[in-house]
């Protein structure tokens, strides 16, 4: 099987600060995997490079066989990369429904339509309701997004990403800032979404229950370099990873 995403010796520096260096790995279609590492290891930066928010200094990033380095985000998203952000990136003054509906409209190529009301776009509206139902946000569909609880805003961000029907979904710390109870729900939900939407899913997490609970592959980033890659069992037993990140009593 050929990888859906392949990083080949990717670099990024800000001024003199090397944030990612020589990162190489391959993600298989349908895989669910985690990226872990200390704060400032370059995890978010790596996502930014994949999605075209940042231009890589060197290396190649192949998505579905095509090198996407140098392409702007809107072209990368059009090829099937979806993303939710470390800090929920939503449209605060729009309703929850419109947040997802605008993404559905975009997917359907209907964002230039200027005559009929958004309410008249049945397909986009139905799709949006479907996604909100999968996320358990349908009861709040008509609230303004800024009124949502923190955890629900994170969910909505994922909903916007899902509306674009991505093949590869990148989630940046989906449980950040959540209570243990919410984390548990999020863990269950993400596994469900992964199956329901037949995604290839890569998530960044500090929550080890989530990482070792649902990831098939775990990659460890430290000071911008890939320290280790393997199954949860391999990573758990890896001496280097234990000293660098997990700690002895893990």
């Amino acid at each position: 099987m050929t990888p859906i995403l392949q990083l080949d010796s990717v670099d990024k520096a800000f001024g003199g600060l090397k944030v990612t260096s020589h990162v190489s790995f391959s993600v298989m279609p349908g895989e669910i995997s985690a990226i872990i590492g200390p704060n400032g290891a370059g995890k978010t930066t790596l996502f930014n490079q994949i999605t075209g928010h940042l231009l890589s200094d060197a290396g190649a990033i192949y998505f579905k066989g095509e090198n996407i380095v140098g392409r702007p985000p809107q072209q990368i998203v059009a090829r099937g990369v979806g993303r939710a952000f470390q800090i929920a990136s939503i449209f605060p003054d729009e309703t929850v429904l419109d947040n997802v509906r605008v993404a559905c409209l975009s997917k359907l190529g209907q964002t230039r339509k200027f005559w009929r009301s958004v309410l008249d776009y049945r397909q986009a509206t139905d799709d949006a309701h479907g996604i909100l139902a999968s996320l358990g946000l349908d009861a709040q569909a008509h609230r303004k997004a800024f009124e949502l609880a923190h955890g629900d805003q994170k969910l909505l961000d994922i909903g916007i990403a899902l509306a674009l029907k991505p093949t590869l979904l990148l989630l940046d710390e989906p449980t950040a800032g959540m209570s243990p109870e919410e984390r548990h729900q999020m863990r269950v939900l993400i596994k469900k979404l992964w199956k329901e939407f037949e995604l290839t899913l890569v998530f960044i997490e500090h929550d080890m229950d989530m990482v070792f609970g649902i990831a098939q592959v775990v990659r460890v980033l430290q000071q911008g370099a890939l320290l280790a890659e393997g199954t949860p069992e391999q990573i758990r037993a890896n001496k280097q990873v234990i000293t660098a990140y997990l700690g002895e009593d893990f």
Binding site: A78, E94, T111, F114, I160
Partner: protein, 322 residues
């Protein structure tokens, strides 16, 4: 979907009342004075509503909309002056085309910079256009402006011209309203709230900003073209930055987050100017104070506050359900 239908009906009936009220002005009033006043309100409303598509909806604060307003007016004024009255309507068309083209060119330049630089650049271009009009006396009449701009045929009649303005303004605002609530309008609001996310919906932020900048300029020039025939004279003041400032004031006063806010704001400011201006020579001071008080008391604008009160009442179970 019944709630949608009632909402649509209610919106349509509000529309009906507004249009009817304006349509009755020449019938109910014997003096052309009131018709003239209503005409000013209509035209400034169109100006303000199209400005708000740019600012309130998309978040682009232009301080140079007077450029397009003046362009619309001077296209008509100059062509009628040099070529004759029969060129009045074609001149309006020329003004619209010129405004759209200029907005496309300038837009590609000023949208690139964004934020406060966008505001400053629009101001600079607006003032440049004013300077040129002001200085180029031989062609534009400079500070004297242009007088005797007579609309053609039946439109020469004040009442007929009023109904012409009413029709064009209502149609234009209707088009803009449809746009505001369409997918395109939704994208524009999203561009204001979170441009990065819009890019990650696969949409181009600047492209959408450019579209609305051109559309806004188009309808602003339409307002300017209509204004040329109201009093039969135009002046370089139409291009001065204070004109851009006044339209901002109207928009703030009515409420930038409400589609009809700028409409109400324009009406209120013109009525205040009319009432106060007729009674005292300190009118600009008094208008300033009145507007300041309104803005302080109603921070969301007149229409914005009204909507808030209505939704509060609905929540308390007092009024009709929102």
């Amino acid at each position: 979907m019944t709630s949608n239908t009632t909402r649509n009906l209610r919106a349509a009936s509000l529309w009906g009342v507004i249009v009817l009220a304006f349509a009755l002005v020449p019938v109910l009033s014997t003096s052309s004075y009131h018709t003239n006043l209503a005409c000013h309100i209509l035209i400034w409303s169109l100006f303000a509503v199209s400005f708000n598509m740019l600012w309130g909806v998309t978040g682009m604060l232009s301080l140079g909309q007077a450029l397009y307003y003046g362009l619309g007016a001077y296209s008509v004024g100059l062509m009628v002056n040099y070529l004759g009255s029969q060129w009045y309507l074609p001149a309006m068309g020329v003004g619209l085309l010129a405004a759209a083209l200029l907005a496309l060119l300038l837009g590609m330049l000023v949208i690139r910079v964004g934020g406060v630089y966008f505001t400053m650049l629009t101001l600079a271009f607006g003032q440049l256009a004013w300077q040129i009009t002001f200085k180029w006396y031989d062609f534009t009449g400079g500070d004297d402006g242009i007088q005797g701009i007579i609309p053609p045929g039946i439109l020469e009649n004040g009442t007929a011209y009023y109904y012409f303005v009413l029709t064009v303004v209502i149609l234009s605002i209707w088009v803009l309203k449809r746009m505001a609530f369409s997918p395109f309008g939704l994208v524009l609001r999203c561009v204001q709230q979170n441009p990065d996310r819009v890019r990650f919906l696969g949409r181009r932020v600047r492209r959408n900003q450019l579209r609305i900048y051109v559309i806004s300029a188009f309808f602003t020039a339409l307002a300017g073209g209509l204004m040329a025939g109201v009093d039969g004279s135009i002046h370089t003041d139409m291009l001065f930055w204070t004109t851009s400032g006044e339209v901002i004031l109207m928009t703030v006063l009515g409420g930038i987050n409400q589609f009809f806010g700028p409409f109400v704001g324009a009406a209120v400011i013109i009525l205040i100017e009319d009432l106060v201006g007729a009674r005292t020579e300190y009118w600009s001071l008094i208008i300033g104070i009145i507007i300041m008080v309104i803005v302080l008391v109603f921070p969301k604008g007149l229409v914005g506050e009204a909507a808030r009160v209505r939704s509060l009442m609905a929540r308390a179970g007092l009024g009709r359900r929102a």
